[in-house]
Symmetry: C2
Subunit: 79 residues, 2 copies
């Protein structure tokens, strides 16, 4: 299961952290946020992912995939 989150404000960074911390891959869709807030999410997610030895991939300019440690990023050519 992959959880997709479309945060509306920075407080929702905790939702991203919550799902990721339980081992769920998270698609973090920041397209509804202004650039400054999107940047804050990216920095938060970078720390989150680093802390748990996961990976972060940019799927589009404002959409990111956060993968927990030990999970392979889904193959792009499956789509």
């Amino acid at each position: 299961m992959i959880k997709t989150l479309r945060p509306q404000n920075y407080n929702e960074a905790l939702h991203v952290g919550h799902f990721f911390r339980t081992g769920t891959p998270v698609v973090m869709d920041l397209t509804e946020l202004p650039d400054a807030e999107a940047k804050q999410f990216v920095d938060f997610a970078a720390g989150l992912v680093f802390g748990r030895r996961g990976d972060m991939d940019r799927l589009s300019p404002k959409v990111f995939l956060l993968m927990p440690a030990g999970m392979a990023t889904p193959a792009r050519d499956d789509a």
Copy 2:
């Protein structure tokens, strides 16, 4: 042991992450950074700490203590 880090640029966020991830409390001294970069560090550290269920305390406007999970913050009145 507490590791004190005084990052000079955002790349050194990885040093903060590295020590914290191994269970070392980190004092993150951002006094040498401009506000915009200091803010990035704080967001990175927030993610890092959340991901590992630790705690972050602000010791002064630009100095933060990152405590790993299960470690008590040193009592302030010991100083």
